[in-house]
């Protein structure tokens, strides 16, 4: 079973948490917590097991960012969520060399949160104009801060 295979393979990586999730509540079968430096290893294991990257996003908490990766499998339903705490102003390692699809997701996180990914081949803004000087999904971002028309 995929859930057991994943638990075993991820268990070898010495992660902070690998535990079955409450699917009926959270929609995830496996919950994982990893340190930023471990993320490329985690991604490599997920790809070896044939999982695809379903979604990648971030949440801005007062003390840190949390990167949230969702993986799933085309043949057998097993959604894995990986939480990665990234300190503010720190960079997270990219997984775009493992999952090329992560390239755009990481650009989006950079664009909206200002969180950088070390090793990303093309870390440009993706949704906002290139010359924008703000990151709108940061909690301290307030649209009304822009000065009124002179």
């Amino acid at each position: 079973m995929l859930l057991n295979d994943l638990t075993q393979a991820l268990g070898r990586l010495n992660l902070a948490k690998v535990a079955p999730g409450e699917y009926h509540k959270s929609g995830c079968h496996l919950e994982v917590e990893a340190a930023p430096a471990q993320m490329p290893e985690v991604a490599r294991v997920m790809l070896e097991q044939g999982c695809f990257l379903e979604s990648l996003t971030a949440v801005d908490f007062p003390e840190h960012f949390t990167l949230v990766y969702h993986f799933n499998h085309f043949r057998e339903l097993c959604r894995t969520v990986v939480h990665v705490r990234v300190p503010k102003e720190a960079a997270a390692p990219t997984i775009s060399h493992i999952y090329p699809g992560a390239n755009w997701y990481e650009r989006e996180v950079y664009d909206l949160f200002g969180l950088t990914f070390a090793g990303h081949p093309d870390l440009r803004r993706i949704l906002l104009p290139f010359e924008a000087d703000f990151h709108p999904l940061r909690k301290k971002f307030a649209p009304s801060e822009t000065p009124a028309d002179a």
Partner: protein
């Protein structure tokens, strides 16, 4: 970023942002050698409205109408996913009749989306007539949905715990009549399109996507099923009352543009089957859960919910901290992942084929931009 020092050798061509084949405001910067593409770089974000930011700044119910504007062509699936996410956090049970109504309307909407795509896509390839047939059929669905939802495009029909208005017998009879009508048109589509030599020449063997690429890029929907992987959330992660119905998942074999067309074409018949079974078996009863709180304030927690939209997997990742607005709401839109493979499959194709490939992705640009 294209390398600017190579102007002598390469020719830079902007496809869009106002090009008819991009179906919205999407620009693809092409680096060309003669008529062949060396590098394609999609530039998105022209229609960024900040839906995810809006979600954090309004109540759960106030955000509901936004969902119909993310993907305006299959708005009801997006309504449904958001309602399911909130219902899951609130632990609300939706009455069975409401689930049946959701399935019927959602599938009608899926057919409308596919019909529009077929019409617009063939228009890209230079065939004007099928467009008129498709829009003629689609108009019937819009009339039906208009009757129950009150709008023709940006639906906002579902509510947390059910649906606000019941359907009547005329609507159910109309669904059956529509199924008969669409089936009677298959012969026209077969003759006009599926056997058309020009269409076959322009779509077969072009824009091939392998199953390995699907995994690496996280493709979903007809883009994925065209490559032969039968991943459909209605079957793989069943939600609502879909397990009650008998339907199949059409898949392709080679993963080219033609396969993606055939997957969508054949999906319409499967949606008709679901609609007919649902209309036959729709139970009587309430359409709204009994104890829906007036103030939606889910307990702290996070949830990921996915539905099968016309373009692929639409997922919502919702983090609640017990407030009246979500702490974070991520819209996992299918077109974003599906378009991200374009730079890889566009290389070494002719610019005329790129139009066929780009169209076969079936992007809805406002959904990518959010």
């Amino acid at each position: 970023m294209l390398e600017r020092g190579l102007e002598e050798k390469y020719y830079i061509l902007n496809l869009g942002p106002q090009h008819p084949s991009t179906h919205g405001v999407l620009r693809v910067e092409l680096q060309m050698e003669g008529e062949f593409i060396v590098k394609a770089d999609p530039d998105i974000g022209y229609g960024h409205r900040g839906h995810e930011h809006m979600a954090e700044n309004r109540t759960y119910l106030q955000f509901l109408p936004n969902l119909g504007r993310v993907d305006y062509l299959h708005a009801l699936a997006y309504n449904q996913c958001y309602c399911m996410a909130v219902e899951k956090l609130l632990e609300l049970k939706v009455p069975e009749r409401a689930e049946f109504i959701r399935v019927i309307t959602c599938e009608l909407n899926r057919i409308a989306s596919h019909l529009l795509w077929i019409g617009a896509y063939l228009l890209d390839l230079g065939a004007f007539t099928p467009f008129l047939y498709c829009f003629d059929d689609r108009e019937n669905i819009l009339d039906l949905l208009d009757r129950v939802t009150g709008s023709r495009l940006t639906y906002c029909y579902y509510r947390f715990g059910g649906v606000p208005r019941d359907v009547d017998d005329d609507f159910l009879a109309g669904c059956k009549a529509f199924a008969r009508r669409l089936r009677s048109r298959y012969r026209d589509y077969e003759n006009l399109v599926n056997k058309n030599v020009i269409f076959l020449e322009r779509t077969k063997g072009i824009g091939i996507i392998t199953p390995e690429q699907c995994v690496k890029y996280g493709l979903t929907g007809p883009m994925l099923r065209g490559s032969g992987i039968p991943y459909d959330i209605r079957k793989c992660e069943p939600y609502s009352v879909y397990p009650l119905f008998d339907f199949e998942i059409p898949v392709g074999s080679t993963g080219d543009v033609y396969d993606r067309y055939m997957v969508r074409y054949r999906e319409m018949e499967q949606s008709l089957r679901i609609i007919e079974q649902a209309v036959d078996r729709i139970p009587a009863g309430p359409i709204m859960a009994e104890k829906v709180p007036k103030r939606i304030k889910p307990a702290p927690g996070e949830v990921y919910v996915a539905v099968e939209a016309a373009r692929g997997e639409f997922g919502i990742y919702l983090v609640s901290q017990g407030e009246t607005a979500p702490y974070r709401l991520k819209l996992r839109v299918p077109s974003f992942g599906n378009l991200s493979i374009l730079p890889e499959i566009a290389v070494d194709t002719l610019v005329a084929d790129l139009v066929a490939i780009l169209g076969s992705i079936d992007v809805v640009v406002p959904e990518i931009d959010r």
